[in-house]
């Protein structure tokens, strides 16, 4: 259900916790599963539950509670732009508007070619670098002026 490489990563995470507390690894296990699959289908979550010896419902609870898990398919690149107050004071809304305009989609939508999904994010803890956005949860892009956004989209469109 998950690749050997993903399972190896999950196994490593499990070693961080006491032997009887494997559930502690569920957040990283879901993140690893999502990295491989792109999103968390029920069968993926069921697999993680089985792998960690948890009830499936307990895994669903975690997946639905934390914002960065994709509970539906997303584009190849999920762009999450922060519009919280500190970012908004330094162009966060302009960055969001530029992305909407260039991609022709609104928040929570995916481009027709399946390449980009746009999300509105909450504070990423990088307010000094505003405007900031995240690519697929892991790559943070700072000082995202219109020019920088255009460059990023060009790079990702290749």
């Amino acid at each position: 259900m998950l690749s050997a490489e993903s399972l190896k990563k999950i196994d490593h995470e499990v070693t961080k916790y006491p032997a009887d507390q494997k559930q502690s690894a569920v957040m990283s296990a879901l993140a690893i599963a999502q990295d491989e699959k792109g999103w968390l289908a029920n069968e993926t979550m069921d697999f993680v539950a089985h792998y960690l010896g948890m009830p499936a419902i307990a895994v669903y609870e975690v997946a639905t509670f934390y914002n960065m898990y994709n509970l539906q398919p997303v584009g190849r690149y999920k762009l999450t732009v922060c519009t919280n107050l500190p970012c908004a004071l330094s162009g966060g809304n302009d960055a969001a508007a530029r992305l909407k305009q260039k991609l022709g989609i609104g928040f929570n939508q995916t481009t027709a070619d399946g390449k980009f999904t746009l999300k509105e994010g909450e504070c990423m803890g990088a307010c000094g670098d505003a405007p900031v956005l995240l690519v697929n949860n892991k790559r943070m892009c700072s000082f995202m002026s219109s020019d920088m956004i255009d460059q990023l989209l060009e790079e990702l469109s290749k």
Binding site: Q21, A31, M68, L89, C123, M124, G125, A126, N137, K138
Partner: protein, 425 residues
């Protein structure tokens, strides 16, 4: 900036990509405090005493005296105890812990190892904000380095003291910055806060005695042990020891982290951040992260940056996130965005917060969009009253406080918005 007293970011060279590494940290006197403690077998009580003397207070937001917190851990307890670092830095405006972990990760590791020794703890976790993935990877690498050098793990430096430290990442939930929500999350559950008491010192991670401190708090500890609590205290002011990193964001020329002694005038900090962008006028400032009451610019300009001075001025130092707003800022719009944030991030456990944050957002939203009524101002205060103090954790208070303060200090602007259906600015 070299003339300034720095502790947490002292001696760092941002242009050197390897400056965070163990070797560089050791050149900055890194791990000498831990080595000294282990070589000289300094009694744990003496370490806690030194931290108490330093007047180090929790840098995460609550400002609780660190030495006192450490002394709450049961000494005679035979079973497992845990040390947890709260690096789930999600309070809008705050980005200091990210810089500490990115540029000086070993200061955190050494601080946690010292804390573990002082409290007789053998296992620790560093819970890192989900959105800063490269920082998580940096911390993973730093822990590997420390372990390989025998500074973490079993029988550290042959002393008989063992301490295992692991990183754990969040995945997008503001509430996990609340310490008991963080513990739930670390146990692999939804991050919903626990009732207190029992406090984590008696019932924490996996039900075991646990101490939780912020990243900046731990990272201050090695310096305190190296130089003495008294010296740390003297850098700041009584009851407000040491330096503090302020994260300055918003309408300034040079947003960023600035480490200054406690008690530094706000005007000086603003100057360090390059002053107001475009030379505009300072209208308002949220001095301690988005959950803290906003203060008008003129009050801020007369205030010093320490716990007690900011409290006296009517707000809180909180996490040290200084959000600067100039005279082009519409305070209704600013509040609308913050209220949306708390509505979005309420964990849904307590009714006053789950329902009340929705009410706050919807009412501020209707004022912002020109559909407000004059009675809405009383309604907002009433909703805030019914949230504050009536929830398990402080997120409810965090949602209510900005509303009250915005209406208190900028009432005219809200009234103008309601009457003219547009912004005053």
């Amino acid at each position: 900036m070299t003339q300034l007293t720095q502790i947490l970011l002292a001696g760092l060279n941002p242009s050197d990509p390897n400056d965070w590494r163990l070797r560089n940290y050791e050149q900055r006197e890194g791990y000498t405090a831990l080595r000294k403690i282990l070589n000289e077998k300094i009694p744990p009580d003496a370490i806690i005493g030194e931290v108490k003397k330093s007047a180090l207070r929790g840098r995460g937001g609550a400002g609780f005296p660190t030495g006192l917190k450490w002394s709450f851990m049961p000494k005679q307890y035979e079973g497992d105890k845990y040390l947890v670092c709260n690096s789930d830095e999600g309070e809008p405006g705050t980005f200091k812990d990210r810089d500490i972990m990115h540029h000086n990760p070993h200061s955190l590791i050494e601080g946690m190892a010292i804390g573990a020794y002082a409290m007789g703890i053998r296992t620790g976790y560093n819970y890192i904000h989900g959105e800063i993935w490269d920082t998580y990877e940096r911390m993973e690498e730093a822990i590997d380095e420390a372990r390989a050098a025998g500074l973490l793990g079993d029988n550290i430096l042959g002393s008989g003291f063992s301490f295992q430290l692991y990183n754990h990442h969040g995945y997008g939930a503001y509430i996990c910055g609340e310490e008991t929500a963080l513990l739930e999350s670390l146990e692999g559950k939804k991050g919903q806060p626990r009732f207190k008491p029992p406090f984590p010192a008696s019932f924490g991670l996996y039900g075991k005695p646990t101490t939780i401190n912020n990243t900046e708090t731990f990272a201050s500890v090695p310096w305190i042990i190296r130089n003495g609590g008294e010296k740390f205290l003297q850098i700041g002011k009584p009851n407000n020891g040491g330096t503090k990193i302020f994260s300055v964001s918003g309408h300034v020329n040079k947003p960023g982290n600035y480490e200054v002694p406690m008690g530094t005038p706000f005007a000086k900090l603003l100057e360090m951040a390059g002053g107001m962008r475009g030379g505009r006028k300072l209208k308002a400032c949220i001095p301690g992260g988005s959950s803290m009451p906003v203060l008008p610019g003129d009050i801020m300009m007369r205030t010093d940056m320490d716990y007690d001075s900011i409290a006296k001025a009517g707000s809180f130092l909180g996490s040290g996130a200084v959000i600067i707003m100039d005279d082009t800022t519409c305070m209704v719009k600013a509040l609308e965005r913050l209220s949306y944030f708390y509505y979005e991030e309420s964990c849904g456990q307590c009714t006053p917060c789950r329902e009340g944050t929705g009410w706050l957002y919807r009412v501020v939203h209707r004022i912002e969009t020109g559909k407000g009524r004059i009675e809405d101002l009383d309604l907002l205060n009433n909703v805030a009253d019914n949230i504050q103090g009536r929830t398990i954790c402080a997120l409810g208070d965090a949602a209510a406080m900005p509303v009250r303060a915005m209406i208190q200090h900028f009432r005219d602007e809200f009234i103008y918005h309601i009457e003219h259906k547009k912004c005053m600015v």
